[in-house]
C-alpha cells in the first residue's frame, strides 16, 4: 500500500514538473507582449523597454523559468500585470468561490446520481428504470446555462427565494456563511444536473456489469437476498468506474465553469483565467494553470487512494 502510494505521489510530482515546463514554454512562444498591452499601441519604445526591464521580461528565459519555479515553491506566484496585485491574493479570492461551488455541485450530483444509478440497475428493464434513464438522458441533453436561466427565472424572479446572481462573500458568522451558500446554490444545482445525469448512467452500467459477474451468483447461492447482494457485493465492485468519472468531473468543476460563472456573475477561477488570457496577463495565466494542474493531480491521487481502498488487488501493486 505504501509502495503504491509512494509511486502515485512520485508520478504526480513528475507530472507537475513537466506541466510547469509546458505551461511556461507555451506562453513564452505565444505572440503578444504584456508590456505593449499594458501601455497600449502608441507607447514609445523607451517606455516599453523600461517596463520590460521593470517586469524582468528582458532577462534570459531559463533564469525567468527558474525564478518562477522557486517563487511558486515558496508561495510567491508573482504580481499580476493588469491588477498589479499578487497572483496569490487574486487566486485565493477566486478559489473561495470556485472550490465551495465545485464541492457543492459534486456533493449534490453524487447524492442524486449514485442512488438513482443503483436503483435503475436493480430494477433493470422495468418502468422505473426506463423513467430514471430517460430523465438522465434529458439531463445530459439540456445545456446547463439554459437550465441555469430557468432556475433563476423560477427561484429568483418567481419565488424570490434565492439571489439571481453575484457573490456577497462569505461574510461574518453563520449569517454571512448562509448568504454565501445561498448565492452558490443555484449555480451548484445547474452545474450538478448534467454531471448527475452522466454519473447516474455510469453507475447503472457499472452495476449491471457487476451484477452479471459469477461472484454475484455465488453470493445469491449463499442465500443472501437480492438487496443484500446489491449493497454488500455489487456496490463496492461497481465503484471503481464511478470514482474515475467523479475525479474527472471535479477537475472540470474547478475551472471549466466559466459559462455558469458568467450567468450568475460569480467571481470564480474560470472568469479570472478568461480575463487573464484576453489581457495577456501571462503571470496570472501561468499561476492559475499550475494551480489547476496541482489540484487535478491531488484529486487523481485521492481517486487512486479510493481505488486501493475499494480494490485489494491494487494494494499489492499488481
Amino acid at each position: 500500500m505504501t509502495a503504491y502510494l509512494a509511486k502515485r505521489l512520485a508520478v504526480g510530482l513528475a507530472t507537475l514538473f513537466v506541466a510547469s515546463l509546458v505551461v511556461f514554454s507555451v506562453l513564452e512562444i505565444l505572440p503578444g507582449d504584456p508590456a505593449r498591452i499594458m501601455l497600449g499601441m502608441n507607447a514609445s519604445p523607451e517606455a516599453l523597454d523600461a517596463l520590460r526591464s521593470q517586469m524582468g521580461l528582458d532577462r534570459p528565459v531559463v533564469l525567468r523559468y527558474l525564478d518562477w519555479l522557486t517563487g511558486m515553491a515558496t508561495g510567491d506566484f508573482g504580481r499580476s500585470y493588469t491588477y498589479s496585485s499578487p497572483v496569490v491574493e487574486l487566486v485565493a479570492e477566486r478559489v473561495a468561490v470556485s472550490l465551495p461551488l465545485a464541492v457543492m455541485a459534486l456533493t449534490l450530483s453524487t447524492a442524486i446520481a449514485i442512488p438513482v444509478g443503483i436503483f435503475a440497475a436493480a430494477r433493470r428493464g422495468r418502468l422505473s428504470d426506463t423513467l430514471a434513464m430517460g430523465a438522465a438522458q434529458v439531463g445530459v441533453a439540456i445545456p446547463n446555462f439554459w437550465f441555469a436561466m430557468l432556475l433563476v427565472y423560477v427561484f429568483a424572479v418567481g419565488f424570490r427565494l434565492l439571489p439571481a446572481g453575484g457573490f456577497p462573500g462569505w461574510g461574518e458568522g453563520w449569517g454571512g456563511l448562509w448568504q454565501g451558500f445561498k448565492a452558490l446554490l443555484l449555480p451548484a444545482v445547474s452545474l450538478a444536473l448534467p454531471q448527475a445525469a452522466i454519473l447516474a448512467r455510469v453507475t447503472r452500467s457499472a452495476m449491471l456489469e457487476v451484477l452479471g459477474e459469477d461472484y454475484i451468483r455465488t453470493a445469491r447461492a449463499k442465500g443472501l437476498p437480492r438487496r443484500a447482494v446489491l449493497w454488500r457485493h455489487a456496490l463496492r465492485n461497481a465503484l471503481i468506474p464511478v470514482l474515475t468519472i467523479l475525479g474527472l468531473q471535479f477537475a472540470f468543476l474547478l475551472a471549466g465553469t466559466i459559462i455558469i460563472e458568467n450567468v450568475f456573475y460569480l467571481p470564480g477561477l474560470g472568469r479570472l483565467i478568461f480575463q487573464a488570457i484576453s489581457q495577456r496577463d501571462l503571470i496570472v495565466v501561468e499561476g492559475v494553470v499550475m494551480l489547476l494542474v496541482a489540484s487535478i493531480i491531488v484529486v487523481n491521487l485521492l481517486v487512486d487512494i479510493c481505488y486501493a481502498v475499494a480494490d485489494p488487488r491494487l494494494r499489492t501493486g499488481r
Binding site: 451468483r217 455465488t218 449463499k222 442465500g223 457485493h233 465492485n237 485489494p312
Partner: protein, 542 residues
C-alpha cells in the same frame, strides 16, 4: 423418500423451450451424476433447483426438496434454503469469489446470515471449514483475498462457502473443468469425503463421463433438454442401452486410426530445441532489493522429426505454453537455441522470421475467442497468406481458402459466412483451416479440443490424425488431457516446473510412467474404462 424429486419439469426462456419433462431424484447421501453436452440443459436443471434462473425463465412441473415445493416457493423461503440446506459450487473458480472481500468474510457471511451467529463465532466456524477443505489457517488466514490464491485453492474456498452449514444437498456444476487433472482429482476426493462425512447428497454435473463414473452412484444422461437415460452408473455405462449413451461413451474414448510411427521411420529433424531457458523477472519488493527471476522453462532440449506428432503434457503453470511461444518465435529464450529446418530462430528479426512463420502455424484452445467476429471466414482463413513470398491475387486466394476449408471438412461456400454462424466444433475446423492454408510443416496446438464437447472432440481428433497422415504435418500438442495425447501423438514429453522430466513413446510412458510427475498425472487422469472396472468391482464386492 427422496431428498430431491423432480418430475415433469419443463422450462422455457422467453419462447425457447430449454427443458422438457425432466425426471430426476436424489436420495439422502447419494451421488447423482448429470451428464450431457453443452446446451443439454444440465446447468438449467441445477439452477431450477436453486431457483436462480434468468429473468425470462418459466418453470412448470414438480420440484420438491425435503418436502418443500420449490417451483411455488416464495423468494424469502428460497433464501433460507440456499446456502443452508442446498449449497452450490460453480465451474469457474477464478471468478466465483468477490475480489474485494477476504475469504474469511465470504465464508463467514453465509454462516452469519443463516444462523445469526456473531462475527467471532461465525469466523471460528469459517476457520474450521476452511481447514476442512484443505486451507489451514497458518498458510491461509481468513484475511487473504481471492487474488492471492490459485485456482484450485479458490475452488476450495467456494466449496467451503457451499458446505459451511452442512447442506443436505450440494450441487456441483462442472466443479473441476477449469482445473488441471491433479487438482481435479484432489477436488473430487474432497467432495467425496464431504459426502461421506455428512451423509450429504451430491448432484455432480459434468461433461466428462469418466469423472461421473468415478464419483456417481447413479447417472442421468441429458441431451437437448431431455433425459435420455437414467440409472445406476455402472449398469448404465456398461450396458449402454440407449444409443446416445453408447455414442457418448464411444466418443469419449475415441482413438483415431493412425499410421504406426514405426512405418514412417525416424525422419529428418524438423525442429531442434537445445538447452532452452526462459526467465521472467519478479517484481522487486523494494527499489533496493536484488532482482530475482522466475525460471519458467529450464534447460529444455528435444527434437521433432518431419511428420512426427509429439505431445507436451504437464500441470497448469509448468511452462508448457511458454515453451510453445518460444518455438513459435512469439517470445525469445533467455538462453539456448531453437532450430527450425536447421535455421536458428531465437536471434532473428521479425522480417527474417517470415519464411519460418509460414511453415509453423498455431491452433488455440478457444474457438470463440480467436476470431475477429466482424470478418468473414474467407478473410480469417486467408490471414496467414501474407507470409507467402508471392502474394496470391484475389482469385487464387479464394481458391486456396476453398481448398483449406475442404481439407478440414467444411465446404467452399462457407467462406462467405461469419464466425458466429458456426458451432464450436466448426469454428475449431476454421482455425485448423487457417493453420493449414500455408501448408505448414509444424502445427502447434494448445489444448485444441478441451473446449469442445466429446462427440465434436472425437471428430476434431480424427481431423488432426487425418491431416497428419495426408499433409505430413508435424504436431506439437500441448494438453493436460492424457486421452488427447494418446489419441493423436506418437511421442510425449512430460513437463514439470520448467523441465522435461520424462520423454518417450506416448503409450509406453502412460502405461508405465517412471517419474513421480508422470505417475501423478496418469493416476489423476480420469479414465472411463478404469473407473467402470473399479465401480463394477465395488458393486459385485458388496
Amino acid at each position: 423418500m427422496s431428498l430431491l424429486e423432480i418430475e415433469n419439469l419443463s422450462l422455457t426462456i422467453g419462447e425457447a423451450p430449454i427443458l422438457k419433462d425432466i425426471d430426476l431424484s436424489i436420495s439422502a447421501g447419494e451421488v447423482m451424476g448429470l451428464v450431457g453436452e453443452s446446451g443439454s440443459g444440465k446447468s438449467m436443471t441445477a439452477l431450477t433447483v436453486m431457483k436462480l434462473l434468468p429473468h425470462a425463465a418459466r418453470a412448470k412441473g414438480r420440484v420438491v426438496f425435503d418436502g418443500i415445493d420449490i417451483v411455488a416457493a416464495p423468494e424469502a423461503a428460497m433464501c433460507r434454503l440456499r446456502g443452508d440446506d442446498i449449497g452450490m459450487v460453480f465451474q469457474e473458480p477464478m471468478t466465483a469469489l468477490n475480489p474485494v472481500k477476504t475469504i474469511g468474510e465470504q465464508v463467514a457471511e453465509g454462516i452469519r446470515w443463516h444462523t445469526g451467529a456473531n462475527r467471532p463465532d461465525a469466523e471460528a466456524r469459517a476457520r474450521a471449514m476452511l481447514e476442512r477443505v484443505g486451507l489451514p489457517e497458518k498458510q491461509f488466514p481468513l484475511t487473504r483475498y481471492p487474488h492471492e490464491l490459485s485456482g484450485g485453492q479458490r475452488q476450495r474456498v467456494v466449496i467451503a462457502i457451499a458446505c459451511a452449514l452442512k447442506p443436505k444437498l450440494l450441487i456441483a456444476d462442472e466443479p473441476t473443468t477449469a482445473l488441471d487433472v491433479v487438482l481435479q482429482a484432489q477436488i473430487l476426493d474432497l467432495l467425496r469425503d464431504l459426502v461421506d462425512e455428512n451423509r450429504m447428497s451430491l448432484l455432480l454435473i459434468s461433461h466428462d463421463l469418466a469423472v461421473v463414473t468415478e464419483m456417481a452412484d447413479r447417472t442421468t444422461i441429458m441431451r437437448h433438454g431431455q433425459v435420455m437415460e437414467a440409472g445406476e452408473t455402472a449398469r448404465t455405462l456398461t450396458e449402454k442401452v440407449h444409443p446416445y449413451t453408447r455414442r457418448l461413451a464411444e466418443a469419449s474414448t475415441h482413438v483415431p486410426e493412425r499410421a504406426k510411427p514405426a512405418d514412417s521411420g525416424p525422419g529428418e529433424t524438423l525442429l531442434n530445441v537445445e538447452g532452452v531457458t526462459r526467465d521472467y523477472p519478479i517484481r522487486r519488493a523494494s527499489l533496493f532489493s536484488t532482482q530475482h527471476s522466475f525460471r519458467a522453462v529450464d534447460d529444455v532440449s528435444f527434437s521433432l522429426a518431419r511428420g512426427q506428432s509429439m505431445a507436451l503434457v504437464g500441470r497448469s503453470g509448468c511452462g508448457k505454453s511458454t515453451l510453445a511461444r518460444m518455438i513459435l518465435a512469439l517470445d525469445r529464450p533467455t538462453g539456448g537455441s531453437i532450430r527450425f529446418e536447421g535455421e536458428r530462430l531465437e536471434n532473428k528479426s521479425e522480417g527474417e522470421l517470415r519464411p519460418a512463420r509460414r511453415h509453423m502455424q498455431v491452433v488455440f484452445q478457444d474457438p470463440y475467442g480467436s476470431f475477429n467476429p466482424r470478418h468473414k471466414v474467407e478473410r480469417l482463413v486467408a490471414e496467414p497468406l501474407h507470409l507467402l513470398d508471392e502474394k496470391p491475387d484475389r482469385a487464387r486466394r479464394r481458391e486456396l481458402v476453398a481448398e483449406a476449408l475442404e481439407e478440414v471438412g467444411l465446404s467452399a461456400a462457407d467462406m462467405e459466412k461469419y464466425p458466429h454462424e458456426f458451432s464450436g466444433g466448426q469454428r475449431q475446423r476454421i482455425s485448423i483451416a487457417r493453420a493449414v492454408i500455408t501448408r505448414p510443416k509444424l502445427i502447434v496446438a494448445d489444448e485444441p479440443v478441451s473446449a469442445l464437447d466429446v462427440s465434436i472432440r472425437a471428430q476434431i481428433l480424427d481431423l488432426f490424425a487425418d491431416l497428419n497422415r495426408r499433409l505430413k504435418v508435424a504436431y506439437l500438442v500441448i494438453t493436460h488431457d492424457l486421452t488427447v495425447a494418446r489419441a493423436i501423438t506418437d511421442r510425449v514429453m512430460v513437463m514439470h516446473e520448467g523441465k522435461i522430466v520424462e520423454e518417450g513413446d506416448t503409450n509406453t510412458v502412460f502405461d508405465r510412467p517412471e517419474t513421480e510427475t508422470a505417475k501423478a498425472l496418469v493416476a489423476a487422469a480420469p479414465d472411463l474404462d478404469r473407473a467402470l472396472r473399479m465401480r463394477l468391482a465395488r458393486v459385485s464386492g458388496g
